[in-house]
Subunit: 205 residues, 2 copies
């Protein structure tokens, strides 16, 4: 029965998902530059023009993939914050650690998300996913704002510092530019355990 479906040359059945899965596999193992529309089509067993029906063009496919990644990241961060202890510092660390964890597990996906040149922000799925991810940070920012003094500039600065620190550390790590630093640390120190110390350079009350 399945063979009949397989033999059908014009209805793959779940091509959209298959293409996204293959694209994510390539992007996380060989990197974004190694990905090509034609190669993933081949890997999925379909001709090179098939993806057009589902994604339009390459930036369309990448945008959907990025949207999916953003949704998962937002979910990941959200539960990390929710599960963490009550303190502001604990929650901030939990979120940051969750982000780093995601970056280590899906390096290509994270690179893709921060490469606006390859994405089409007018796609509804991407736009929504970006807003969903922002909302996690914004909610947390509100918390900081409430907990600390109400100087709005200072609050924005703290939020931005946290964001920049997380993004910067992840990017440096993924790009292999922390290797020397990590190698000089005491035996057994991992990128993740060191990140906790780095985060403490920002003081949360």
């Amino acid at each position: 029965m399945k063979l009949v479906k397989k033999a059908n040359a014009h209805h793959h059945g779940a091509l959209r998902e298959a293409l996204l899965a293959e694209a994510e596999r390539v992007i996380d193992t060989q990197g974004l530059e190694a990905l090509s529309l034609r190669s993933i089509s081949r890997a999925v067993g379909v001709t090179h023009a098939a993806p057009t029906n589902h994604f339009g063009d390459l930036t369309g496919l990448l945008s959907e993939l990025a949207a999916d990644g953003l949704r998962r990241l937002a979910q990941h961060l959200h539960t990390a914050i929710r599960v963490a202890g009550p303190g502001l510092r604990e929650r901030a660390h939990a979120m940051a650690r969750a982000y780093l964890h995601f970056a280590i597990e899906h390096p290509g996906l994270l690179v893709l998300m921060s490469r606006s040149a390859h994405l089409d922000p007018t796609r509804p799925a991407l736009r929504e996913a970006m807003e969903q991810a922002s909302r996690v940070l914004d909610d947390f920012a509100d918390e900081i704002q409430k907990a600390k003094g109400v100087d709005p500039v200072r609050a924005a600065a703290e939020r931005t510092a946290l964001r920049a620190l997380i993004h910067g550390y992840s990017a440096l790590l993924i790009d292999g530019r922390l290797e020397r630093t990590l190698a000089a640390l005491p035996e057994g120190t991992t990128a993740e355990s060191f990140f906790d110390v780095v985060l403490d350079v920002i003081d949360f009350p």
Copy 2:
């Protein structure tokens, strides 16, 4: 006399520099993705295979360009630190501000430097330039180490935090992902002036 030189079809004279200059122009105005070996060759008035003599392949050209950028950046940071006041905080801020300034003026170049997939680190010029740039940071790190307590892990964390914060803020800004944050700030606040406040989230003694 010059016309004779110009008419010479086989000796451009300064092709190497011309190619690098054109590549930098494209990269800083249209972005890294818009650059192609053939287009810059055309712009310089030479066939597409000419660059091979000077750079080998595309990653060769990009590596030389990145090396040049790194040298200039290192120089820029070095003088910023040297010129700044005596305090540790002043010097750190001066360096960070210089970095951001460079990022704003040469966004494409900065992106290129942090995209290891396009670079060939075995090229001597690149390797040297990377070490030169690292040295600026390392020297400054030693200063921090001396000025503050001698816990090496804590010192490494502070250095890394500063690095990640600078890199992260620049990357977010270049990618246009700070626009909403900046728009919500008081009138007249620029990305650069706000950066000073962000940097203060890390406390230097």
